[in-house]
Amino acid sequence: MSDVPYTLELKDIKKSFGDVDVIHGIDLAIEEGKFVVFVGPSGCGKSTLLRLIAGLDDPSSGGIFLKGNRVNEVPASERGLSMVFQSYALYPHMSVRANLSFGLENIRMPREQIKRRVDDAAKLLQIDQLLERRPGQLSGGQRQRVAIGRAIVREPVIFLFDEPLSNLDAELRLQMRVEISNLHATLGNTMIYVTHDQIEAMTMADRIVVLRGGNIEQVGKPLDLYNNPANKFVAGFIGAPQMNFMAGSLNGQTLILDNGITREVPVSEPGNGSAVTLGIRPEAIEVSLKGEGDEQIKVQNFEQLGSVTYIYGTFNNGESLTVQLAQQIPLQRGQMIGVTLRTNDFHIFGGEEEISLPMDR
């Protein structure tokens, strides 16, 4: 027993399928009641990690601890977790009520208690009209609710969600996103949610875990990740539209970009002329229609959404730049406009790992 208040701890977890290493030593601790989102591109090992936590797969090495107890050898059926699958995996031959109560019957809960829990969960998820139907007679969104309901009735230590919204259409996805967030607020359980969609991660998470190639790139609150990405990958992955990247070099405190811009930057450790990448978010760029500013870009395309305008342009050296403006301006394709990059919003990534360089601000 350890006395740490962590619901779940992963210690140096590794997993390989045959000769292929999928997860290369992950350490992670999750506090009670947090909504944690595993996010990353496909193949980054996020679903595998979730299956290891669930007990559906066994790690090649490392320890999994639930409330301080090592559970590596505990089978999935005895870990007390519940999971919502990407395909929902509802039992097609059972009614919705039977789907919800199956897990409770397995742990030999008294009948009246099962009925009460199922009815409560059904009411919470607004599926109480559908209890006698079969999954085949439900729409996608309703199946999703039943799948979540099946997880809720167990009152698990941790909820695991494996890309649960990827089969829904855009509108429903938005609605279910809000509902799952509300559900977390209501129930207060620890939830682990896997997705490849960074918007889902940003909108729902207390903590985001960014994964790439079987390693954790960064763990943090959504806005921390947005404002202070640890490296170029996280910076590019979090945020839409994507952060702009420009190649250049750092000499002392002078940043010289390939597109002609030169700027003094308050880096903590002066550079020695090595190659760096400047990252700047689309909304940290000011635009001048008269062509004034650091540099001019040629407008290739633009999108006027009313409240927001997106401008897609290119520098003379061919590097592209996305600008997000919170206003409407008259634009034409092929037009030259001036752009000013705000130094305060610079992110400079250097070294082989393209780590964010610390700055004095």
Partner: protein, 360 residues
């Protein structure tokens, strides 16, 4: 007639072109008709023959209807076939032959058996009647007319017991084997599957002797279990069920595991209900196999008539010198009835099973 008529006059194509019978329609209906005839003609022929009087069958009378020469009891003579004699002036008399058939045959009228006269053979025609020979069925079933040794109820009970027990055991152990071979990862999974399927290549007559020794050693020779147990594990069944269970998504099993279900419960509550269509197919096959089985029950059960199945019971009518085909045919029809009913009942599950799986 309305719905059946629509069904039977369906044609290819969309509603605009559908009322014209095209070449494909003729071919399709012709092909289906051929199939129906191939399947139905032997069964119908068996049934129609089973209601023919014994004399019609013994004479290889190929007329469809049960028409046979009348036989009557003649006082002081015995049972004789009746002939119609037409004399020169056209009067017809019922007569029977009082001697061997020659150019001029000795006949006597039925009404006056003593009055024998010679008539021309060509003027005699059989006196025939159309009659359902219900005695073909009733004699063995009611043990009339020397059929006391045909214990239909015993045979039926034995056949039903063997069929039901063997089918239940077959379904259970084949489903378990198929579950393991389709859903568990272990070394040699494919090897075992292939080995099991490979046994399909061994004809049962080759292993007959060794199977006899096995059954003898286990002490179930001569009992119904000696027929039931060797037949329980079928490679066909394991293969059929395994291929079907492969299509059940693994996520369902994982969901059940997350729902704290034991592997045993997963088998009973998830795998078995979802495999119902395949299980129905196997049940039908198994029922047909066990019901029609002849050679192996003959070996195991021949010594004890109280253990005979229907198929063994039927052999009583095929003697060395005499074949009671009218009884064989009638009892064959009776033995077809249960299996037909079973099929009609189970085939519903095949279609509804596919319809309710509900997986996309």
């Amino acid at each position: 007639m309305g719905r059946l008529g629509t069904f039977l006059t369906r044609t290819r194509g969309n509603p605009e072109t559908a009322d014209k019978l095209g070449i494909t329609d003729y071919l399709a209906y012709g092909y289906l008709l051929l199939g129906i005839l191939i399947i139905l003609v032997p069964v119908c022929w068996t049934f129609l023959s089973s209601i023919k009087p014994e004399r019609a069958i013994d004479n290889f009378d190929t007329r469809v209807l049960p028409i046979a020469q009348i036989q009557s009891e003649i006082e002081g003579v015995g049972v004789k076939p009746i002939w119609k004699y037409t004399d020169e002036d056209g009067t017809v008399t019922d007569v029977f032959k009082a001697g061997p058939t020659r150019k001029l045959t000795d006949v006597a009228p039925v009404s006056d058996p003593e009055n024998v006269s010679k008539v021309e053979r060509k003027r005699l025609v059989p006196s025939e009647e159309l009659r359902l020979a219900t005695e073909n069925y009733l004699d063995p079933l009611l043990k009339r007319k020397g059929q006391e040794n045909f214990h239909f109820a015993t045979y039926l009970f034995n056949s039903v017991f063997v069929t039901v027990a063997a089918t239940l055991i077959t379904l259970l152990i084949n489903a378990m084997a198929a579950f393991a071979l389709s859903k568990y990862q272990f070394k040699g999974r494919l090897t075992f599957t292939l080995l099991i399927v490979a046994t399909l290549l061994i004809p049962s007559s080759i292993i007959l002797v060794s199977l006899f020794f096995v059954v003898w050693t286990f002490g179930i020779f001569g009992s119904l279990w000696g027929v039931i147990i060797p037949a329980a594990a079928t490679p066909t069944g394991v293969f059929l069920l395994r291929q079907y269970m492969l299509t059940i998504p693994d996520e369902l099993l994982e969901a059940a595991r997350m729902d704290s279900a034991s592997e045993w419960r997963i088998f009973w509550r998830i795998i078995i209900p979802l495999s119902l269509p395949a299980l129905s197919v196997l049940a039908i096959l198994s029922v047909i196999w066990r019901w029609n089985d002849f050679l192996w029950p003959l070996i195991v059960l021949i010594s004890d008539p109280a253990k005979h199945t229907i198929q063994l019971g039927l052999t009583q009518y095929a003697g060395e010198f005499d074949q009671d085909f009218h009884y064989i045919l009638a009892m064959t029809v009776v033995s077809l009835l249960p299996i037909t009913l079973v099929f009609m009942w189970l085939q519903r599950f095949i279609t509804t099973g596919i319809a309710t799986t509900g997986l996309k």
